[in-house]
Point group: C2
Amino acid sequence: MKNPKKRIIQKCPIPKSEHPYITMAHGSGGRMTHELIDKIFIPAFGNAESQFDHDGAVLKSPGDKLVVTTDSFVVNPLFFPGGDIGVLAVNGTVNDLAMCGARPLYLSASFIIEEGLAIETLWQIVLSMRSAADIAGIKIVTGDTKVVDRGKGDGVFINTTGIGEVMRDLRINPFNIKTGDFIIINGDIGRHGIAVLSQREGLSFDTVIKSDCAPLSDAVMRLIESGMEIHCLRDLTRGGLATALVELADTANVKVEIQEDLIPVLSDVNAACEILGFDPAYIANEGRFVAFVPERFVDKALAVMSSMGNEFLPAVIGKVIDTDAGLVTFKNSYGAELIIDMLTGDQFPRIC
Amino acid sequence: MKNPKKRIIQKCPIPKSEHPYITMAHGSGGRMTHELIDKIFIPAFGNAESQFDHDGAVLKSPGDKLVVTTDSFVVNPLFFPGGDIGVLAVNGTVNDLAMCGARPLYLSASFIIEEGLAIETLWQIVLSMRSAADIAGIKIVTGDTKVVDRGKGDGVFINTTGIGEVMRDLRINPFNIKTGDFIIINGDIGRHGIAVLSQREGLSFDTVIKSDCAPLSDAVMRLIESGMEIHCLRDLTRGGLATALVELADTANVKVEIQEDLIPVLSDVNAACEILGFDPAYIANEGRFVAFVPERFVDKALAVMSSMGNEFLPAVIGKVIDTDAGLVTFKNSYGAELIIDMLTGDQFPRIC
């Protein structure tokens, strides 16, 4: 790191008059790659712990257990109502750490850029990443950049790998789910997928549906610090709520019963889904999760989540009612019960 | 991890009669994504510490300092003499850990796959990754898969992030380079770039030039364990030896003098470079590094490297002769001295 204290400059540090677009030479490892690192990545990401001048970052080791998670982001389009690929690339990985009960520490960021991307666009994306990282309290410490020929990529793909620390005795995972657990969701579902799809297809609704993209680590840390027992957490990304619940029921070998009417969905999202023929339960979210908690901690969980601000509208949506059956059912207000499967086709490709 | 003790099956677990090619549904997060995870990634990568059923892997924390490094691999073609994108994706990251003096521990693996890739090809690549990981002694613990539309990718791109541990008092980095340091290279240069280019362009030479792709962590661990002082290590990837030396001289603000005749280059590589108009000093390697060591440890370093097998042909190629000048010169046998710059164009795109 050349200048850890450098202030974030909002104007793109490589003026349009110099190199307006990414060329293959930016990925050669030579002068042009170094210009990107020195003028774009270090000014945007630099902090006291980042080390972009070396092959890796040497960091203080977390005390107890280490959590590692990785995600590649290929969202199309790069910018959508409520966010962009940069915010998504930070929050998506921060949220996977949170779902393991981990406090976020360090993030790596690697870019696969298509020849011809405007450098100004890259700058906007890295600024979004820095801002999202600051909000989530995670440090971007190392990275990589590759450039692929025009027509062999799609603007930019970003991989982030997150490292977090988890307290010694914390066990938050699917194998910990128990009969009787209540299932709490932190807010309304379906907005991220609809926001991206609307932008991509040029659809417009009465009001703009914004992505729910948000970091979840703060909420999870507060749940943990409240001293309550949490059996499992899962964010509701690709495949949506339904796929996440089926995955968990399969892994934990339990029967989950959801009251469909209790799932919060905005009326605009419901309307968009009806027009497009989608089920909100299968639509991707980027700031939504379910928590499996014993009954005696439900009120506390709801209180903690409610204190997290307007974006959080927590609700109990169902229960684990049996073991020895990897099964999820949705019950509606007429008492009809439907067995739910994971997403089976490719309803929503490239939403994250 | 569903079955950590599962034996690696050499035959592709998804038969051609089922799904011969990757579809957008494989990236949807639903059933087809799970089939890839359960039938391809877990059988290939599974080990006692991998956790593909959860959002991240919870692992034992390294004792002293943590090293994190990340790389995206976009090599074209995917298979080349001496290796493939899978071997490269493991060794490239293992080597970046080694260059920080770190013992490799954990690896994440994330795939961006183009719709239409043969599943058999993906299987060959993940088997290569497992084999390379076993050789390097690193565990693949978590991953991700995304699918992009046909014509928006190039077969498959792979991101790996490596986590290693470094002993408390070890300081191996560019800022530690000192006047008087000898510069040792571990073998001949230029093979990886020429091997990939030959395959891509359909060039043939008298003998097949094979990539030098290899893990370097074992050699680095032995150098460290021998008790010798090592000031800096750097692998000679994109931009080759020349770019790596200029980067280091810039960062450390020192003058480096290289005896050009001492740089080992195979005669076939030299011949290929002459025909193609390339300079071997700028060609990428994937199993080559330079070590900066004080004079009194040179013999020990050469002895340790020589003991590493046939692929290692260590040689002293130059010295750090001054401070306060970020400068590299190559001297030839006639005494002529040339000031060296980083690679300035895009000589070799997509070689890693």
